[in-house]
Amino acid sequence: MTSRETLAWATLAAPALTAAVICLTPQRLVTRAAVAGACGTAALALALAALALADPGETFADKQIAVDAAGGLLLAVIAVVGLASVLVSPAYLATVRTSLFSVARRQRAYYVVLFAFWTALLGVPIAGNLGVAWLLIEATTAASALLVGFSGKARALEAGWKYLILTSLGLGVALIGIVMLAAGVPGGGLGALSWHALPTYAGEPGTALVAYLLLLAGLAAKIGWAPVHNWLPDAHSEAPPPVSALLSAALLPAVLLVAWRSEHALAPIVGLRTAQDVLLAFGLVSLAVAVPFLWRPMAWKRLLAYSSLEHMGVIALGIGFGTPLALAGVAIHIAAHAVAKSLGFYAATPLLGHDPRAAGHAVTGIGRTQRPLGTTLGISLGTLAGLPPSPLFVSEVLIVAGGFEAGRSWAAAAATALLALGFLGLAHALIETTSGKSHRRDSALAPGLRGVMVLTTVSVALLAGLALAGVWLPGSELVQALTKGIS
């Protein structure tokens, strides 16, 4: 076994083992066990990500496990967001009044399901096989749906139900595509669906194209690409904030990576231009659907959810353009979106403590009554809007420039216009949220804010680093590896 393979299995074993330990731990030690397990899991995942990113030209791939540069990037994102989600969970759990689970079992059940979700999620970017990746994505659905409905409130039940039914049906459609591909790859069996074997598909190109379309349409339901995004705003707004962060910052891009790998593996069969066109279509439609909602006054978490739709569209465009410049933008975009979006969701716990109306209404003037909280919300929203010098501004410039470089001028121009409109909508929300008219006079520190302030400091440092990465990343060995893909 190579060091990458060993670390990969250890990375998957750590959260699964933690879930088992939490089942057996006395109630008073559950939180400590969760934090210890999260630190261990994140350390292993980050070590594997560091190995993959330090030597991006070298890829390890067999039938079950594949560790490459793109997988390393996503592993790092999932590790960091997962760790932060566990760390802020005690503050969230302290505010819970109702739940799907009884009071005695609530905390334990929450952590067990969270770690089960994290286990499946960590497996997605290192799955060496389309079939295994599908299984892991489906497994995330079962675990995360329970977390979406965790509060047991009517709205959470509705959100969890929609999420479960729509994504399960979507993944069923994706599985038809996978079956069609498996039937056309010589040899059959598990190996037929490995990322290396897929390009050897020997059936009709027309059949491969239909399989690719079904696969992407099915995955789109899980990524939250329009027009099959209906569950996304509901699930992200009703889930516990630490879970919303994992859903938006880690799950969506992890599934998107599977779509990216599928595009890479099948492009030689269906044609590179055609394969990219499908991604560009999903990207532009997602942007076009998201922008009008970014202009509307909306509850904080719901606004962040529509911003996820916009950003998944931007990433799809970057992959669809496929040039080194655009892929450098994609790498920065995935990481910066994860940092800013998870920070925004973590801030929702103190925000709802400060102003419970924020669950259903747009928040205004938080910077006037709760300056630290307003600062956190402002940093999150400003970054997500792409306000210079935010790393998302850098990544969007790189992606659009990559589009023009690829000769996709119309798509790049349309993306520019939509991004500008989205920016204006979020900039207005930013001004209203931080310095609009305040409805409250309570200046006492909101519950859970101290931890979020620490995360804000860390996030600012990470975002600054990512903005600077825009200078050296284009043309780097990492981008060359992203262009080459796993095969």
């Binding site: 299984l135 489906e138 039940l157 479960l164 707004s237």
Partner: protein, 202 residues
């Protein structure tokens, strides 16, 4: 695969979308899954195939029992009325199945009949989810889609026991979680009716 058996599976699937009572739909779905398990066992060529067949059979019986328990525990005063009458639902499902089999080219399975039957079951599942309001029927729609996919997997020239067992496990987990939601929705709204879930709109 026996063509007549494939069409029996399709007829059972069409029954699920048409019948009024949840208990009848559960029975049809369980029989369909058991037939699939029987076909898998009959066609098994190695130990892995036999394990997959037993997993399919266990899944059929397990989910059938779970659905039966759910029907008993969440007795509706009267069946949740679907928005569209049975004949129209069946018509929509058949039209969708025909469109899908026309649009999707030959997949490379062991026979075109298997391909058509598998696609028809997937279409029936999606049509069931779209046209039936009862939450339990929406869960059964997922199982119907997965039964179609299991049928397609049986027609693959080379299969992977790992993937088939994984799909069975995933489906079982999803249905278990859906069962939790179904019971809570019933307790919260007094009926397992997805029409009650319409508060989240923009």
């Amino acid at each position: 695969m026996n063509g007549a058996l494939a069409w029996v599976l399709v007829a059972l699937g069409l029954g699920v979308i048409g019948v009024r009572r949840r208990s009848v739909a559960v029975a049809l779905l369980t029989v369909q899954a058991l037939i699939l398990a029987g076909i898998a066992l009959h066609d098994a060529a190695n130990g892995g195939d036999v394990a997959s067949a037993f997993a399919l059979g266990l899944r059929a019986l397990g989910l059938g029992a779970l659905f039966a328990i759910l029907v008993r525990r969440t007795r509706e005063p009267r069946p949740v009325r679907a928005a569209t009458p049975p004949m129209i639902r069946a018509g929509i499902a058949v039209a969708f199945a025909l469109a899908l089999t026309w649009l999707v080219p030959a997949m490379g399975l062991d026979s075109r009949t298997t391909e058509r039957a598998a696609l028809a079951l997937v279409a029936f599942g999606i049509a069931t989810a779209a046209t039936r309001r009862a939450t339990l029927f929406q869960v059964m729609a997922i199982v119907l889609v997965e039964n179609g996919l299991a049928l397609a997997a049986l027609g693959l020239p080379g299969t992977s026991a790992l993937i088939e067992l994984g799909v069975t496990l995933d489906l079982t987990l999803v249905v278990l979680v859906a069962a939790v939601f179904h019971e809570r929705i019933f307790a919260e709204f007094g009926a397992g009716d997805s029409a009650a879930l319409r508060s989240l709109r923009d």
